[in-house]
């Protein structure tokens, strides 16, 4: 239903999206993960027709977004990151207007509007003006306007940014309901826990490139059972490097140096807690001073760290 092939978007010499490819089918949530500025929104904008791709293709329900844009857009629902509502138009009229913009008319439109109002939990506030709504209610209406025409593919661009926990939970329910109804959903976020909860497949993007792709389980398997150990403090770069290399040679397990700087060292290894004394001894022996230790069990967050050497929210 959604297929992206070798998609690129350049701004002069700057490559915002670099030949990324992925696809997702009916009734599935595909997560596009990456830090701010990684290229997630640019990818969404190319798929939605807001931006013209520099090269590559994207198709929605079999329709190329460039050569058959109108048909592609008819099958596409977009829930933008920023609110996109008529604040001075009742909620029900917002839904009606966007339904008509996608070609719905008459009884079909009215039944969809009623159904969406129920889905987003605004049935009793249908005549209310969005400018009088809470932030969470506006978010839900924003979601409703994107799905009122019952699209086959839904693009959700960081829909939970600035949303309170209650509204976030409600949003997850709505996404799951659309997925269960058969929609293909592309969900961008930089919150790994959201991706782990919602997504069947995930692509991790950084600096415009896909650096990992697969199901949540597949990606976890890539990480194995290794923990991530982060040491903060002060570390002489060369001496610490030599000490850790020596430790890796002596270590029978799977110790690996992920990143190193003067103020931090990141390592990954299985059952890290059992090897902490040896690691501290090696670092101290190299003249390092550990002021803080962080030990994390494997998850997508640590996978991102493993792949890029930096935190997802940096």
């Amino acid at each position: 239903m959604l297929k992206v092939t070798e998609l690129s978007k350049n701004y002069g010499d700057f490559v915002a999206v670099d030949k990324i490819s992925f696809e997702s089918g009916k009734g599935a949530v595909f997560g596009l993960l990456g830090p701010n500025g990684a290229g997630k929104s640019t990818t969404i904008n190319c798929i939605s027709g807001l931006l013209q791709p520099s090269s590559g293709h994207a198709s929605v329900a079999g329709h190329d977004v460039v050569t058959d844009g109108k048909a592609a857009r008819r099958n596409l629902g977009v829930v933008p990151q920023e609110l996109a509502l008529y604040e001075d138009l009742p909620a029900v009229d917002n839904l009606r207007y966007w339904g008509k913009a996608y070609g719905l008319r008459g009884a079909e439109l009215e039944s969809r509007v009623v159904a969406v109002l129920e889905t987003i939990g605004l049935g009793d506030r249908a005549r209310g003006l969005p400018r009088e709504f809470s932030g969470g209610m506006k978010r839900r209406l924003n979601f409703g306007c994107g799905i009122v025409h019952k699209p086959e593919v839904i693009l959700l661009d960081e829909p939970t940014v600035g949303v309170d926990p209650q509204s976030r939970a409600r949003l997850f329910e709505m996404v799951e309901a659309e997925r269960d109804a058969g929609a293909c959903i592309l969900y961008t976020t930089h919150y790994m826990e959201e991706a782990e909860r919602l997504c069947d497949s995930i692509a991790i993007i950084d600096h415009g490139k896909l650096i990992a792709q697969g199901s949540v389980d597949e990606l976890r398997a890539k990480l194995g059972a290794r923990d991530v150990l982060q040491l903060s403090g002060s570390f002489p770069v060369d001496a610490t490097r030599l000490a850790i290399d020596a430790l890796i040679e002596r270590h029978t397990g799977d110790l690996e140096l992920i990143s190193q700087a003067e103020d931090n060292v990141t390592l990954t290894l299985s059952q890290a807690s059992q090897h902490l004394p040896a690691i501290f001894d090696a670092v101290s022996g190299a003249g390092g001073d550990v002021s803080e230790t962080s030990l994390r069990s494997p998850n997508l967050e640590t996978l991102f760290l493993l792949l890029t050497g930096k935190e997802l929210r940096e």
Partner: protein, 407 residues
């Protein structure tokens, strides 16, 4: 076309939520128009003053002076009240009167004997116009008295001496003496030595009242305010993200632009129409001119709206767009006849005004409401306005497609 109607209904529904802006667009021009009309109609309160007179002489001549101040149109400006010296001084010092005239005892006799006599006029320093009038009238009276004395001094003296019941012979003698005097001066008076030729201007048709000439400009002020205000809705839509969402949808941007233009036509028609209606009622303009006038301002309003919108969409921020648009609005109103009718502006400014978009519209509206018969605006003017609207709307659609909606 279906989406144009959908957008049209959507925009009308949104404007219903913002009645205040619509009222302001109507109220400001009406307020200005009301003030101008009040000034032009000349029905303001005329000044009126009181001249206090202390007549210590109580003679025929002093009575004549009192009567002179309240005769004819002067009497509508000045009321003469006789009073005593003390009360008169007190009242004029308190600012209750425009002047105090004191005619001393012996004034009449001194006048008849051509002796020097002083009458005193004390004016109210807090007033300017009425004391000035009183002073001028007093000087004229004294000059007139001097010349009357030169001509008819003997006769006046005789009248004073003859008492209340002069005999017929005395009256006849007096009449003969006056006749002789008039005959003596007649060669200088009849015919006058100076021949004055009075040239009357050619007969003109009744002119258009000045206040009526203000009406098109006032209506255009409403229309311009509304057009500029509605044009800013593109920026409003961009800021609230709805333009961006529209790009995601398969609906045509052209339909969206047409829908907004239709809504603008209705709103401008209502705003301008109400101002027009008030003007028609106030000036008693024939009702058969109303449909053409209303259609003219609605169509012209769409053209003005579209150009304001295109202008505002060419800037990179709403603030800049708003400032530039407002900076342009007021000079246009000034030159386009909204503050002074084009008919009373100096030639080159009037020419410039008629070439300005709103001046062009106001000029044709003036034609419609002042000429006999309805539908007086020529076909070329209609075509120019329609072409302007089409070009303006096309520019808006082009601007939406070339990035304004995507940002």
């Amino acid at each position: 076309m279906k989406f144009a109607l959908t957008s049209f209904r959507k925009d009308l529904a949104r404007w219903r939520q913002d009645v205040l802006a619509t009222l302001i667009w109507i109220a400001i021009p009406l307020m200005i128009g009301g003030l101008i009309t009040a000034l032009m109609s000349g029905q303001g309160v005329r000044p009126h003053g009181v001249l206090l007179m202390v007549d210590q002489d109580e003679s025929f001549l002093s009575g004549f002076i009192a009567g002179a101040y309240s005769a004819g149109e002067l009497g509508e400006l000045i009321s003469v009240e006789k009073t005593t010296l003390d009360e008169g001084t007190e009242r004029v010092n308190a600012g209750e009167a425009s002047g105090l005239l004191i005619i001393p005892k012996g004034f009449g006799a001194a006048f008849l004997d051509a002796e020097s006599v002083t009458i005193t006029l004390k004016t109210n320093p807090s007033q300017t116009i009425l004391p000035g009038i009183i002073t001028n009238v007093t000087e004229i009276l004294l000059d007139a008295g001097f010349y009357a004395h030169q001509l008819f001094g003997d006769q006046i003296r005789s009248i004073q001496l003859m008492g209340d019941n002069p005999g017929d012979a005395v009256v006849a003698a007096m009449a003969i003496a006056l006749q002789n005097k008039i005959e003596t001066v007649a060669p200088q008076l009849f015919p006058p030595i100076i021949d004055i030729e009075i040239i009357e201007p050619p007969a003109q048709e009744p002119g258009v009242p000045l206040a009526l000439l203000f009406l098109p400009g006032i209506i255009l002020m409403s229309v311009m305010f509304a057009a500029n205000g509605i044009a800013s809705d593109y920026w409003r839509e961009r800021e609230q993200g709805t333009l961006r969402r529209l790009v995601f949808a398969p609906a045509r941007l052209g339909g969206f632009v047409v829908g907004k233009a239709l809504a603008a036509a209705v709103i401008i028609g209502m705003v301008g129409g109400l101002t027009l209606l008030i003007g028609f009622i106030y000036h008693g303009i024939a009702w058969n001119k109303l449909p053409a006038s209303l259609l003219w301002i609605s169509v012209s309003g769409v053209a003005l709206f579209s150009w304001f919108a295109a202008l505002q969409m060419s800037f990179s921020s709403r603030k800049t767009a708003s400032i530039i648009s407002s900076m342009l609005l007021f000079p246009l109103l000034m030159v386009g006849g909204s503050f002074f009718p084009l008919a009373v502006l100096p030639g080159w400014i009037a020419l410039l005004g008629r070439a300005s978009p709103n001046g062009f519209v106001a000029d044709r509206l003036t034609t419609e409401i002042t000429q006999s018969g309805s539908w007086a605006i020529d076909l070329n003017s209609w075509l120019i306005v329609l072409l302007g609207a089409v070009l303006g709307l096309s520019t808006c659609a082009w601007r939406l497609r070339t990035g304004f909606a995507r940002a």
